[in-house]
Amino acid sequence: MDCVGINGVRRVHDMGGLDAGPIDREEPEHARWEKRIDAIRALCSKRKLMRTDELRRTTEDLGPGLYDALSYHERRCAAITNMLLQKSLFTVDELGRKMAEVERRWAKAGKP
């Protein structure tokens, strides 16, 4: 919906007043990896590695396209990853090697 204010310029996450369609009231089934993302988020908060506002900021910074294409937990995963990279908790190279290691482990265990 158009608004009266300034010129309606908004960032992708700023959705108040937009048409959203019907609300899906089904209780979602959460996959194991989604629960893990939430556990990592909770751990990062507990260890004071990030505040809620930082998670919001890095989620918004995914930008149009990625923000719309990813699911809720995929957005969180991407945002937390970017934030921890920015905070030098690990390097891109370390992340890449770890991802390859996990992939090999899962392939060996016959997981998809």
């Binding site: 009266v4 204010g5 960032r11 700023d14 505040r51 506002d53 919001r56």
Partner: protein, 99 residues
């Protein structure tokens, strides 16, 4: 920090829209509303969002807008309002009838 505005004051949301984590919804920028309540003082989320942690706090207000003021094609009752949480750094005093 002492709150600059009181309940009933008419305020305008600054139009500024800098890049980054901005906590004013797009449909409020440049718009006038009325202070509905003073919530308290909190750390500025626009600082926290970039890891700027300090002891400074900022008053937070609930600002009430008339829906018909915000949306040109609003077809609900004229008395309909929407209330938005806005930090003090985004508010300017505005002309208008106190409510």
């Amino acid at each position: 920090m002492t709150a600059r505005f009181r309940i009933g004051d008419v305020v305008r949301i600054r139009r500024a829209f800098p890049p980054g984590h901005v906590r004013t919804p797009y449909f409020t920028r440049g718009m006038s509303g009325v202070v509905d309540s003073v919530v308290g003082s909190f750390h500025n989320p626009e600082d926290l969002a970039y890891g700027r942690y300090n002891d400074a706090t900022l008053p937070l207000y609930r600002v009430r807008f008339k829906q018909a003021d915000l949306w040109p094609d609003y077809d609900g009752p004229a008395r309909d309002t929407t209330i938005v949480d806005i930090y003090e750094n985004w508010l300017e005093p505005a002309e208008g009838e106190q409510q």
